[in-house]
Structure formats: C-alpha cells, structure tokens
Amino acid sequence: MIWFSILVLIPLIAIVVTASENGWDQYVATLQNPQTWAAIKLTVIQAFMVTLLNIVMGTVIAWVLVRDSFPGKSVLDVIIDVPFALPTIVAGLVLLALYGPNSPIGIHWANTEHAVTLALAFVTLPFVVRTVQPVLEELEADVEEAAASLGARRSTIIRRIVMPSLVPAIAAGAALSFARAISEYGSLVLLSGNLPFRTEVVSVRVLSFIENGNPAAAAALASVMLAIALFVIVVLDILQRRVSRRG
C-alpha cells in the first residue's frame, strides 16, 4: 500500500495539485492556446475514428478466429497480439517501413494525418478482438442453429441472437482502445512528424510543455487526459458489473 502510494497515488495527485495551483485561468489559458486546441481536436477525432474502425474490424477478426477455420489461423491469432507486446517506438518504425518514404507499394503517408490514424489503428488492434473473442467462444452455435432451423434469416440471427450478447464486450473493447488511442505517444514520434496544427497529438504537446520548462501547462493538459482515463475506467467497471450480473 505504501509502495502503491509512492509510485502511483502521490505522483498523480501532484499533477492535479500543480494544475490547480494557478486556478482556472491557467486551465483556460492552456486549453485556449490554438496549437493545444488543434492537438486536442486531432487526437479526439482520430481516436474516435480508430475506435469505430476497431469495432467493425475487431468484431470481424474475432468472428473469423472463433467460427472459421483455415490454415494459418493460429498464426493470425499470435499476430493479433504483436501490437500489444511490441515497443511503441518500434511500432512506429515498423509502420514507417511500409507506409513511409521508402514504401514498396508507393504509399507515402508519413507526416500526414493518415499516419496518425494508422499508428493508432496498429496499437489498438488487439483490444476489441481480445474482449470479444472469449464471449463469442462461450456463445453456443446451437442457439444460432435453432434460430436458423426455425426459419430466421442470417441478418436476423446476427441482429437478434449474436449481437445482443456481444455488445457489452464490444463496448468494453472500444472503451479500452479509445483510452489507448487518446494517450498514444511512442508510435507517433517517428511516424507523424509532430507537425503543429496538423499531426501533433496531445501527448506530444504535454511533452513539449515539459521540455520547455512549463510544468504548470503540462500538468493542466495532463490532468485533462487523466480525467478521460478515469472516466473510461469507471465506464468499464460499470460494464463489467452489468455483464457479470447477467451471467
């Protein structure tokens, strides 16, 4: 408990205290800085898009992994986890190899907004897949077959039988990947070029505040990110309780 407070609680409290030392004016001034505001807008929009992408693709991949079988499926299963284990800076470098200046397929996305989307999609890939997969595994195919034998069409089965039990898992995965996307830093350093107003995300902004010796502004921005993180955790907690109550 003491170790936990030394490591986590006190430093996090320090952020909030430093941020609030100068009162609301500091907050407003920091957030109203056009460059910061652009960074926040970019981060939130990109995180949102990537989360939507993950909801669709993650569910598809989880479905393929559980219900389908083809040679190389176990390889796919391992590859899904790669973005989670890979150091984020290496993730950036890896993506740069295919989508950067020396791209073998002629796509040059480095230093554009696409690069941000790409990096975020890469690092958040496992979340929805890994939350949906176990739920889908537990879901018996019997019910679906029963529905089919009673004359339900494919779209009806998916809408009425499969989706309702998957929604909490998808939501949990989406929340995780949104939180991760908001806070991503490492993979963007090399890939996006951190151009102010265009590809600079919030984390990078915090870092440049620190490096310029402006800890108060950094703390103000960091506390906003902290609030988002806490919000996501609370949402997840509620979702988990709801799922376990139903089960």
Binding site: A85, V94, A97, A222, A229
Partner: protein, 263 residues
C-alpha cells in the same frame, strides 16, 4: 460471406501488422549479417541493451512481489477503499505514458519536486537516473500481474488455505505450499507480459531518464535517437532485436495458455 469476412480479417491484419514487420526483418538482413554484427559492436547499443535489461529485470521483480501481495489483499481481505484501490490499479493501463513521466517528474525531481530535494540531499537521485526509470517502468507494467492473478485467486477460493491452516500450517507455509502453486501459471503469464511491456517502455522512460547516451538511454530511446541521426541500419537492427524478444514473449504466452485451460 464467410470467404469475404475471412479475406477482410486476414487482409487487414496483413497490411497493418504482418507486412510492415516482414519489411523490418528484411531491411535488417539487407546486407547479410553485417548490419546486425556492426550494431552489436557499437558500445552505445551494448550499453543501452544492458541498461534496458537491468531496468526491466528490477521492474519485473518489484511488480511480481507487489502484484502477488496486492492480489491476495484484493481477493482475500475486506477493507474500506478496496473498490477504489481496484480501480486505481487499472489507471496505468489507460493513462498516457507521457502523463506518467510528468507525474513522477513533479514529485521526484531534484530541484522543485515534492520529495526530490530531500532524497537528493541524502544522496539518492531518482529522476535522470536508474531509480526513476525503474519506477516509471513499474508504473506502466503495474496492472499486468495483478489482472492475471486476481481471477485465478477468486476462482480457486480459500478452502484449501483454510484446510492447511486448520492443520497447523503457518501463514508462510500456506502461501508457499498452497497459494503459490495454484496461481503459478497465471503468475508466469503476468510476468511474461510485464517483461514485454517493461522492455518496450518508451514515453514514460523518455521523460524521467533525460536520455543521456551511455548512461540513461534504453534500447527504445536508442532506436529513436539512431533513426533521427539517419543511422537507420542500427535502428532497424535494434528494433529487430526488440521485435524478436516481444514475439518470443508472445509465443511463451501462447504455449502457456492451453495448459492453463486444461488444468
């Protein structure tokens, strides 16, 4: 329909993960083994790797001990604020590494931190030195062990422990003989995950370490520095090594998982 979904899933993963990874491997070996050998003769690289292993090792050890303790605390005991603690444990997973770095910096830096100056007077420098880096790494990898061990502990219940205690076993004996063997696989799984995370930590370490070549530069920081200095060969080779380690960790985990399920 089935084919379409399969194609979509495989294609997406291929373009996003598999192909870029393959390209890095190919670039590492673009002129045979020379690239890799050059890299390992670079003293900066060797220093960075040693430092990374040292930091990751201590972070994993601390997290394992702490993780098991907190897991037992969370599952076996009731106390006020338990739900709060459980929620706070998850914070490092969703908070940005940059924020983690900033938080540690505010408390422990030598000039204006809360505790930093006092610690430094006693000859103990945290920020821009190894302890700070270990702390940052601990912070980001904190929940991994706990999240693996807690469900297992909850599932096995405390019947066996109570039986052992009623037969006269001490607290320590109960732990080593009963509790630890039953959470063994979950623990190994958590440790492997936190090892992978610790080796690869970048954002938080970047802030607290000061990124001094040969002294506080870890492997991931080195990759960034080398790439930006246009020494791409070295950057690729070091990344290749990190990729190798993280995939090895994944395979260990993949091998462990079915075992855990069949038990």
């Amino acid at each position: 329909m089935r084919w379409l979904l399969r194609l979509a899933a495989v294609g997406y993963v291929f373009f996003l993960v598999a192909w870029p990874l393959a390209l890095i491997v190919r670039q590492t070996f673009s002129n045979g083994l020379g690239n890799l050998l050059d890299t390992f003769q670079d003293p900066h690289v060797v220093n960075a790797l040693q430092l990374t292993v040292m930091v990751a090792f201590w972070a994993v050890v601390i997290n394992t001990v702490f993780g098991v303790t907190v897991s037992i605390l969370l599952v076996r005991y009731e106390f006020p604020g338990k739900r709060f603690l459980s929620a706070m444990i998850d914070v490092p997973l969703s908070v940005s590494p940059v924020v983690v770095g900033l938080a540690l910096l505010l408390v422990y830096n030598g000039r204006s931190g809360w505790f930093g100056p006092t610690l430094e007077e006693n000859g103990f420098q945290v920020i821009f030195d190894a302890p700070g880096m270990i702390m940052a790494t601990c912070f980001v990898a904190l929940p991994l062990v706990i999240r693996e061990v807690v469900p297992v502990l909850t599932e096995i219940g405390d019947d066996q422990e109570q039986a052992a205690r009623s037969l006269g076993a001490g607290a320590r004996q109960t732990f080593w003989r009963i509790t630890l063997p039953s959470i063994k696989w979950a623990l190994v799984y958590g440790v492997v995950l936190s090892l992978a995370r610790s080796l690869g930590e970048f954002g938080a370490v970047k802030i607290v370490s000061g990124n001094v070549t040969d002294r506080t530069q870890t492997a991931t920081l080195l990759v960034e520095a080398k790439y930006q200095n246009f020494e791409q060969g070295t950057a690729y080779a070091t990344s290749f090594l990190l990729i190798l380690v993280s995939i090895a960790c994944l395979i260990v985990v993949a091998v462990l998982r079915p075992k855990q399920g069949s038990r």
